[in-house]
């Protein structure tokens, strides 16, 4: 996929994945920084979205700064309860990421809600609804890094 990107695409991706200028005309400003016209920046971003390289352009927010609580959960889910468990957990809009992993704890998901009490109440309900009792919650004590930029 990356071989289809030319140097201008790569320059744009490098810039926009770390920071789009906060400006009334952000794409014109970005173009100025890269020596490109606003039209060209917009056309290339449109193409990068259509080809699936860019998932989304927008803001990422810090849940705790917005007054929300979050945690990482791990569950031991037996095969016969797997489908029901995933369906139940994924129905919560505060569950944003969920992966099956190769471990005794085989389902790992993140849970964001307005308070830790709400998360714990939801986990208790999930356990009750699915019959999966081994669910542990590991709230963060400290965050050292959250950066989803990659070399392009």
């Amino acid at each position: 996929m990356s071989t289809l990107l030319d140097d201008t695409d790569k320059a744009i991706l490098r810039a926009v994945q770390s920071r789009l200028p906060i400006d009334q005309r952000p794409f014109a400003k970005l173009g100025e920084e890269l020596g490109l016209s606003e039209e060209e920046v917009l056309a290339r971003l449109q193409a990068l979205k259509e080809s699936g390289v860019i998932r989304r352009i927008g803001g990422n927010f810090t849940s705790t700064a917005l007054g929300f609580a979050s945690t990482l959960c791990a569950a031991q889910v037996p095969q016969e309860k797997f489908a029901k468990f995933v369906e139940t957990v994924n129905a919560y809009h505060g569950v944003t990421h969920n992966y099956r992993r190769g471990h005794e704890y085989n389902v790992w998901f993140t849970f964001i809600a307005e308070s830790m009490e709400e998360i714990e109440a939801n986990l208790a309900r999930i356990a009750e609804d699915t019959g999966v009792e081994k669910i542990c919650s590991m709230p963060a004590r400290e965050m050292y890094k959250i950066k989803v930029d990659f070399p392009v």
Binding site: I22, P26, L42, Q46, G52, F68, V89, M138, K145
Partner: protein
């Protein structure tokens, strides 16, 4: 930072997809009854106060050359958690790193996401990280299946803007 109702509406909108047009905040400003300059100033304030940690494009890793990733759970003494967490974070292949409350029967307390071109590169990187950070007890949790991946929607209800 104390968030006002207008800020919550702006947040609700910015967590979606920004329109690819010359003045992407014009419609939002009109709906909120603000000038574009005011909307931009509020977005800048959200960024300055770290409420918004990033404003930009989210890429699909699989399509940008980082096809493999692994969650690494590390077990370190609490008094070393900060030092090891920072050492792991210094690697550019690490996207996330947290010190977490451990679970009863899962005593690992540091979690990092490590990215690479393939599984072998991830494993080699983790071995190097372990040596550098002097953290020898860890477990690799490769993802076998993505079951859900979305962005959190904050203030969705507050963000509803009623026409007229």
């Amino acid at each position: 930072m104390q968030l006002e109702a207008t800020d919550k509406k702006i947040i609700a909108r910015l967590q979606g997809d920004l329109p690819l047009e010359s003045r992407p905040f014009a419609a939002l400003a009109r709906e909120l009854g603000l000038s574009e300059a005011e909307v931009v100033a509020r977005i800048q304030a959200l960024s300055d106060h770290k409420v918004m940690r990033r404003f930009g494009a989210t890429l699909r890793h699989q399509r940008s050359g980082f096809a493999s990733n692994v969650m690494v759970a590390w077990r370190v003494p609490p008094e070393r958690a900060r030092e090891v967490g920072r050492a792991l974070s210094a690697f550019r292949q690490v996207s996330h790193c947290y010190w977490r409350e451990p679970c009863d029967d899962f005593p690992y307390n540091l979690f990092s996401m490590v990215h690479g071109r393939d599984e072998a590169e991830c494993r080699a990187m983790v071995a190097e990280m372990a040596q550098t950070a002097e953290a020898e007890e860890y477990d690799l949790l490769f993802s076998l299946e993505e079951l859900k991946k979305t962005s959190m929607r904050y203030f969705d209800r507050e963000g509803e803007i009623h026409e007229g």
